[in-house]
Each structure stands twice: as structure tokens, then as C-alpha cells.
Subunit: 218 residues, 2 copies
């Protein structure tokens, strides 16, 4: 049964196509179109679309579904939830580290990703930067050892990503963001749970301000 059903294939492929902007937000998808594109029947496509709707990536709109985008208010809400959860994962990761339950190699990997993210951002490779940034935050969530938090965050990240795709802008202060990442890594490595939580929350809310405000001056 677990042999990757077509439903799963369809869901993963559609998710990918939505998150990389091939199907931009607002695009209308019909079962038959997608079925034709993925060369399968309507049934698995239908199930995939419903699953994506449950994840908030598409939204039923009259006939068929459209790729969803959060409006400004809902995007703000998503960032608030994300901030709360990333504060949690950062805190948990730092705590585990202070208890010696995190492998040094994992911390090295985390720092490497942070550095790589800073590098590609500085180079202006924004698509790569988005991917690495997300990987950075996911690594922390994984270090937290809370699968429920990770799962919940993945859903929220997806929604934020699809909602901010069109404004695929560089951070206004790349060095600032990289510095925050660095601070977060340090707090985790040092096992400072409260500090890690504080930095993580501030970082997420800061990111929200940058990507989601009209004209916040530096």
C-alpha cells in the first residue's frame, strides 16, 4: 500500500509546481487538465487537490480550484503562528543541545547551511536563497525533536512561500538577516534556550515586517 500511490505522486508534483511558481497563485486548476498533464485519471488528481486544499495551498473556487494566496492580514497571522512555533523549536533544540543530545555534526551542518544561505543571498541568487533559508529553519525544527511542530511548520511555510512568491525580493538587509541566523545558531550551540526562543521569534517577525510591509524604512 505504501508503494507511492498515484495520489501521492500527484500531490507531491502539484505541490512542487505550486511552490516553485509554475502554477502562480490565482491560477485555476481543473481535475481534467491536471489529470492530462500528469497522465493519470481524475480520481487520484481529485484526491491530491483535496489534500492540497486541506494544506491551504489551493482553494476551491466555483468550478475547480485556484492556487491560494494569503491576503495581507492572513499572511500576518501565518507569521505570528510561525514565530510562536519557531520560538518553540529553537528553544527545544537549544535545550537538547544543553543536554548533550545533539550530534556535533548536526550543529556543523546547521552552521554550514546558515553560511551558505548568507553567501547565496549576498550573490543575489534569490531562488537558491529561499530554498536554503527554508532548509535552515527546517534543520532547527528537526533538531528540536518534535515531529508535530515540524509538520505544523511545514504547512505554514508552504502557505507563506506560495503567498510571497510573486515578491521574490531579496531581504532589504541581507547582512542583518544573516546576523540573526548566526545569533540563532550560536544560542542553540551554547544551549541557551530562552535566548534561542527570543532570537527565533524576533527573526521571524522581522522577516514578516520586511516581506509584508508596505514601505518600512531601514
Amino acid at each position: 500500500m505504501s508503494s507511492r500511490m498515484q495520489t501521492d505522486v500527484a500531490k507531491d508534483q502539484l505541490r512542487e509546481l505550486i511552490l516553485d511558481g509554475t502554477y502562480p497563485s490565482g491560477a485555476r486548476l481543473t481535475e481534467m487538465e491536471v489529470a492530462a498533464a500528469l497522465e493519470m485519471s481524475r480520481t487520484p488528481v481529485r484526491e491530491a487537490l483535496r489534500a492540497l486544499a486541506a494544506d491551504g495551498l489551493v482553494r476551491p473556487s466555483g468550478r475547480g480550484v485556484v492556487v491560494a494566496a494569503l491576503d495581507r492580514d492572513h499572511l500576518d497571522e501565518a507569521y505570528q503562528v510561525r514565530a510562536a512555533l519557531e520560538a518553540l523549536t529553537a528553544e527545544l533544540a537549544a535545550t537538547r543541545q544543553s543536554e548533550g543530545r545533539i550530534a556535533p555534526a548536526d550543529l556543523v551542518a546547521l552552521r554550514d547551511v546558515a553560511n551558505e544561505t548568507a553567501a547565496v543571498t549576498a550573490e543575489g541568487r534569490f531562488a537558491d536563497a529561499v530554498r536554503l533559508n527554508r532548509r535552515f529553519h527546517r534543520l532547527i525544527a528537526e533538531l528540536a525533536g518534535n515531529s508535530m511542530a515540524l509538520l505544523t511548520l511545514e504547512r505554514i511555510w508552504d502557505q507563506i512561500q506560495v503567498s510571497t512568491l510573486r515578491s521574490l525580493a531579496p531581504p532589504s538587509r541581507p547582512a542583518h538577516v544573516s546576523g540573526q541566523h548566526e545569533d540563532l545558531v550560536s544560542a542553540i550551540i551554547l544551549g541557551h534556550a530562552d535566548e534561542a526562543a527570543k532570537v527565533a521569534r524576533a527573526h521571524v517577525l522581522d522577516t514578516r515586517t520586511v516581506t509584508n510591509s508596505k514601505g518600512e524604512p531601514a
Copy 2:
């Protein structure tokens, strides 16, 4: 389209049956059984089961699905996420209150539910207490005005509820719990955001300890 499809009916009914213990955790459900019980074909049932699986209420298990229960570790994870999110909603609700954006009647309603919860708990009507307790927490999430947080919490509440159904035990210190509810209501009414967050987090983690520990003495 929005005219309550059979898929939705099936999902809601099954969710209800699972949450009230009619289908206890571990019970195996087959598409055909459910289809017969709900008097519809396999297709909408199938979609409902997949939706419930995405919500974590059932889990595919070989042929068919079984009603899911979180093991001790995952239940702990769920409580951590819940604590983080309820701290957020309490904080947001208090903030809105301090900004005068909450109708007095809503606060009265909140206090009423808290009192009623305390009353039925004291009376030993535990099933009612569970329902009211959940309503209490949901009211706060609604006052927070963050639909994403509310949605996320609903999912987690569902999973916790189905996982703790069998131990439908009274809180070991009902007055203690009621006092925490009271403190939370007060913090929100006074608009003390930080305090509300702190109390909410502590309350959830306290609940976890009580319901999820082996033999914590009173």
C-alpha cells in the same frame, strides 16, 4: 458546489464518532463498512478517510485505516505545540482587549464558560467538562483573531482528544485547573498580554503533566 457534499458529511460524522469514542482508537475502519453505515458509496467515504488521515485522526494501516492514538512521546509533542500556540492566542487576545477591540459581551461569555466548566467538573460530569473545557480554549483562540492559529489548534486538540479519550479521568486537582482558567480570564480582561501568555502556557503544560504522567501524586 459548497452545498455540503457527501464527502464533508462523511468527514464530519466520522470525526464526531471518533472524538466521542464510538470508534475507539485502534478500531479498524474499512471503506465499505463506513459506506454502508453512512449509506453512501465508497468514493466520498474514501475522501473523508484521507482527510481525517491528514488531520491525524486516523492512520493508514495495511488495508484500511485505524483510529489513531498518539503514543506518550508524540502526545507530549502535541502538548508542547499546543502550549506554544495557546500562549500566542492568549497573548493576542489580551492585546486586543487592551486595545479595546473586544466586545464586553464576549468577555462575559468567556467567564461564563470558565465558571460552567468549573461547575460541571466539580459535579463529576466529565464528558460535559471535556466539551466545555475545549470550548473555553476555543473562545480564547477566537478572541485572538488569528484564524490560522485557531485552525492549527483545532487539529491539535482533535488529536489530543482522541488520544486521551480512554483515560477520561477528572483532573486530579479540579480547583487548581479552574483557578488557572480564572487567572487566564483575568489576565485577558486586564489586557496583560505577557501574563496571559505565561499563564496559558503553564496551564497547558500542567494539563499535560496531569493527563499524561504515570503516577503524579496529588
